[in-house]
Amino acid sequence: MSAIEAITVPKWGLTMTEGTLTEWLIDEGDLVAVGDAVADMETSKIVNTVESNVAGTFRRIVAHPGDTLEIAALLGVVADTDTSEEEIDAFIQSYVPESVAQTDLLGSGSDDTAEAATHVDAHTAVKEESKPQAPTNAALDALADGEDDSDVHASRYARQVAEQYNVNLHNVKATGRNNRISKADVIAAIQAAGGHIAAVVVDKTATAEPHRSTQNDSKVKATAVARRLAMKLGINLYDCRVSGSHGRVCKADVEAANALLNGAPVTLAAIATGAIEQAQATPEFEETPMSGMRKTIASRLQESKQQAPHFRLVIDCQIDQLSALRKQLNDAHPGVKISVNDFIVKATAMALVKSPEVNVQFDGENIRRFKHADVSVAVALESGLITPIVKKADALNLTEISNEVRSLATRAKAGTLQPDDFIGGTFCISNLGMFGIKQFDAIINPPQAGIMAVGAGEKRVVVDGNDTRVATVVTLSASFDHRVVDGAVGAQFMTDLKRFIENPALMLA
């Protein structure tokens, strides 16, 4: 099925309505790739080069130098080599300029920017991939022989290809109009001698689709690895440069083609020099995909911040008595290592039971009040964060809370927590005290309605009546969801909490 495509007058600049064709850069019979320079045109503002946005063989010149046409008008026709002349005639007759061609190719800039448009030279815009290694082939070698060919009648394009593949134009048979050697002729000569041509690659990335060869590539010389890899990646060996030994496509060539055709676009210069591999080897950044945990944290906390109106209450607690009690317990009882945080968990659980409006889960519509305080404790992992729950913390004693928190932390690190262990809870405690953080504000974990951020216990000067003294103080900063917890309720909770922490004997009662 032959596809017939149109080369049309492009739109440069917002105000351009028409342009004049000054010169064709290709000839009928030439192979055209997307982005190839095909003609020079001039408008009232600039002279610029028309680039093809289709690929195939240039079959018919429609507009001639000197013709002035409106934007989107037909300049020439590109099709397969086996499309008949009659079909092309029919195409030209029925051609209607498409509105899509009226898109401003120079972008949203004004006509001023059009001045800055680069005049893209045929040599630079249309680049072959790096020179293939000279194959050890007598016929090919012979192609290079001959007298100076600079006056041989050949299209600029053909000359460029010939230069690149070290072909003397005297050795090329012209099949185009006026005995002019076209690019296709040069390519045919090379292939007839046993070489092969890498497909044309463009450095326009935004709009163009790289050319993909559909030729049967089983005769292309390639290493076994390259061939298999190409098959796996869906790459045609004709689309690969040739840099392997003995004139073969090698693995690196297939990978470069893959990067271009299947992956991120790369500049021609990089392909040409092989710098692409170096660039890929030492990138300035490393993309890391988001892990499941990361994605969950990201979406849940964003949702929480956006949905829940957070308000904060801060309170300082003196923990000298608590520390003394802690030391006493730890010294006397080898089977347990109670931390300050364990005390805070206990105190929080007790305060939650006293303020049932805080000990809730809220899903946006329904509030659930829980009989017991299921306190979540934030555990930092290498890969993120998790909040396992100390269930019914109000009913556990300090030893039980301490051992449970230890066990949950280890299981969190080993990844053996069950969903039941960390989904739910009625309140959360997050402690960054071990990092020396004085105070911070945490984000509520839905469906909970509050979270408490615990800072480091540090010696501070406190006021006692009219005197000052030094005490060990820890700052607690709680965030509450104002949809379900009001200021006074939160404040009462914090007051109770402070009382338990500063009078730790109450936690043993």
Binding site: P334, K337, R406, K413, A414
Partner: protein, 469 residues
């Protein structure tokens, strides 16, 4: 202070396995070893002794060359060559453990570790002479796997010269003319068998009434008979009261349970009367860790009475076997990491192997224990004399005994003595692990001709269906 999730003290088969399992579970793990990875097992125990015993096997084969049509004269033996072979094997395996540590991302810390507080370790590095540095570490979980060492008897202390422990017996400069082995557990019996095959006069002295006291009585009796046939003097129910070292050798005063005394003069004495746990200087007293004689007390999950402190392997008590240590390592770590479906170690499923000649291997209850339990039992026996492979290889001394619960068909115990039984006992271990019955064992097809068929026949015999006897 550097922080780890798990720190293991001791790099033997208990310690290094625990460390590997912890690392596999994603826990940040470090292992502290003061001397050599692989511990006693790899360096001064299981492995080098098996290498030496292979030499004994070769000596035995050389004694019987004519049976197979060979003759040889002027066969030379240099003990140093055999010792070198055993040391080479140890060195190779130690570097293998080193590789495993690296592969699993475990930090190996060279030094002597001491627990200085709950979840806190202090490690001393550097040898005497050069500067000793101390580093502290915090770990949520500390696993003590410091192993055990030979126990002395009052008045009988090892001196490395005339009174040996297994350390010395493993690297003799030259073969002694005579050797008296105190204690007939696996260690004593293996060395007795080894040295006898190398031409040494050996006497074994055991204070209990039965050589190899923990084995089934029938097996012990057979082993004793075979030892005596080989020219090993075996004195059971006898104690070494005292020893007297002199230039001529060691004079040992033996007293049996009837009060009769005897003096035996030997060149070397091997003290193999038990081992004691290495619990000194590692901070056990500081934390108030409960110990029982020389072993650390643990529950079924290898937990001590101190939070975050565990003990596995020889240091946590009998059976003092490498495979028990390894399994405890895995169970301890899986339990603390919250892995589902962990079961405590069933000590009755831990096999015991002795690599003497003949070899001894057993698992589960002895016949006496099975009968004492009051349940109805079925007993099966099969003699290697009736096993075609055993005859073909000229090693047909020994038997297999199986004990089944009459009601449930459960394999209560299996006892084997004879050729390569240490390699065969795992078959019975598998049956126990799977809680299989005698029926299932009967229906298992054993290849022919193998020594293992004796296992099958012993099972058949328990059901009164023996085919080949």
């Amino acid at each position: 202070m550097k922080q780890y999730d798990v720190m293991v003290v001791g790099g033997g088969p208990g310690g290094y396995v625990a460390a590997i399992r912890a690392a596999q579970l994603g826990l940040k793990t470090a292992l502290v070893e003061k001397k050599h990875l692989g511990g006693i097992c790899l360096n001064w125990g299981c492995i080098p002794t098996k290498a030496l015993l292979k030499g004994a096997e070769v000596a035995h084969t050389l004694e019987n060359l004519s049976l197979y049509g060979f003759s040889a004269d002027n066969v030379q033996f240099d003990i140093k060559g055999l010792v070198k072979h055993s040391r080479d094997v140890s060195a190779r395996l130690t570097s293998g453990i080193d590789y495993l540590m690296k592969k699993n991302g475990i930090d190996v810390i060279d030094g002597f570790a001491r627990v200085v507080g709950k979840c806190e370790l202090s490690v001393e590095s550097g040898t005497q002479g050069s500067s000793v540095s101390e580093t502290r570490y915090r770990a949520d979980h500390i696993i003590i796997a410091t192993g055990a060492r030979p126990r002395s008897l009052p008045g009988i202390e090892p001196d490395g010269e005339q009174v040996w422990t297994y350390f010395d017996a493993m690297v003799p400069e030259k073969l002694p003319k005579s050797l008296l082995v105190i204690g007939s557990g696996a260690i004593g019996v293996e060395f007795a068998s080894l040295y006898r095959d190398l031409g040494v006069e050996v006497t074994v002295v055991e204070v209990l009434d039965q050589m190899m006291p923990v084995e089934d009585a029938e097996v012990s009796a057979f082993a004793t008979k075979k030892f005596k046939q080989r020219g090993i003097v075996v004195k059971t129910g006898t104690k070494v009261e005292s020893i007297n070292k002199s230039v001529e050798g060691v004079t040992c005063l033996l007293i049996d349970k009837n009060g009769n005394s005897e003096e035996v003069v030997v060149e070397k004495v091997l003290l193999s009367a038990g081992i004691q746990g290495n619990i000194e200087n590692i901070g056990m007293e500081t934390l108030g860790v409960e110990t029982d004689r020389s072993f650390i007390k643990t529950d079924e999950w290898c937990r001590t009475n101190v939070v975050g402190l565990y003990a596995i392997g020889d240091v946590s008590g009998p059976p003092c076997l490498a495979h028990k240590a390894s399994h405890e390592g895995v169970i301890c770590v899986e339990k603390l990491a919250g892995v589902a479906g962990v079961h405590p170690l069933d000590k009755s499923n831990v096999p015991a192997c002795t690599y003497s000649r003949p070899q001894v291997a057993s698992v589960g209850m002895t016949e006496a224990q099975a009968r004492a339990s009051g349940r109805g039992i079925k007993v099966g026996r099969f003699n290697f004399q009736s096993n075609s492979k055993a005859l073909a290889i000229g090693e047909a001394e020994g038997f297999v005994k199986t004990l089944f619960d009459q009601d449930s068909g459960e394999l209560l115990g299996a006892h084997m003595i004879g050729p390569e039984v240490t390699e065969q006992i795992q078959g019975f271990g598998i049956a126990q692990a799977l809680e299989g019955t005698e029926q299932q064992l009967m229906h298992t097809v054993f290849a022919h001709p193998t020594l293992s068929e004796a296992m099958h026949e012993a099972v058949l015999d328990a059901c009164g269906q023996a085919l080949h006897q």
